[in-house]
């Protein structure tokens, strides 16, 4: 994935359930889809779908351990999304300062 393009990361994190999945994986690396489904009011199938989307965005990876598939975060792409937000915020601070001086 192109690390300079935060698009897929924003899309992946736009969904509240996926953000909950990210939060759980951050607290407990190596959770299975079933274990995540226990924590959230969502079916295991739905969790599997969300995990696939997080993997597509480069935010999570699967690890096969016997018959289980365990998931952990690979948060590097988050840096691109955070950089966008920090940069956009800094630009608006500058613009709003100019506006205040003008008024």
């Amino acid at each position: 994935m192109d690390r300079t393009d935060p698009g897929p990361v924003f899309a992946a994190l736009a969904d509240p359930t996926r953000r909950e999945v990210v939060r759980l994986l951050a607290q407990q690396p190596g959770l299975t889809a079933s274990a995540i489904a226990v924590e959230l009011p969502v079916s295991r199938q739905a969790i599997a779908k969300h995990l696939a989307q997080l993997r597509d965005a480069g935010l999570a990876e699967a690890e096969h351990a016997g018959r289980e598939t365990r998931y952990r975060l690979t948060p590097e792409p988050l840096a691109g999304a955070m950089e966008w937000m920090v940069a956009a915020g800094a630009q608006w601070d500058t613009r709003l300062e100019r506006l205040k001086r003008r008024l």
Binding site: D5, P6, L13, P16, A88, W92, R95, L96, R98
Partner: protein, 141 residues
């Protein structure tokens, strides 16, 4: 969690020491925008569908005015070459003592597409709406 955080949007809120019509004059007019938004603003008008460019720190962006609500709100989309297109909403409200509250929300378009089919609704949710009539998006705490 604030709604703009839920949407991965950039949000700024500031109180401007001027009445709303004075601020609006600098928001709803290309020459007004040129005073603060960027170093150079080339737009035929601030009205829906108007297209042009802004240049800031030597970087050019293509701009389209998306929506205008008189004295209250301007929504525009912009994109730097090779960059991520985003939607910007500037919303004005009366604040105390004749001052004006300005809320700026900037959201990558990809986020909006993922969150809501209608950009207008998504923008309202992201931060433009104020008060009890503000639509609420279900967000896991």
């Amino acid at each position: 969690m604030e709604l703009h955080e839920a949407m991965n949007a950039m949000r700024r809120e500031t109180i401007l020491d001027a009445p709303r019509d004075a601020v609006w004059a600098l928001v709803a007019d290309p020459e007004g925008l040129a005073e603060w938004l960027a170093d150079d603003v080339e737009l035929p008008a601030v009205e829906p569908g108007a297209e042009g460019t802004v240049v800031e720190d030597g970087e050019l962006r293509h701009v389209t005015i998306e929506e205008v609500e008189d004295q209250r709100r301007v929504a525009l989309s912009w994109c730097a070459p090779g960059g991520e297109p985003s939607l910007v909403e500037l919303t004005l409200d009366d604040a105390e003592d004749g001052r004006t509250r300005m809320v700026v929300v900037e959201v990558p378009l990809v986020t909006l597409r993922a969150v809501a089919a209608r950009t207008t609704y998504a923008l309202t949710v992201a931060g433009g709406g104020q008060g009890a009539d503000r639509p609420q998006m279900a967000v896991a705490a």
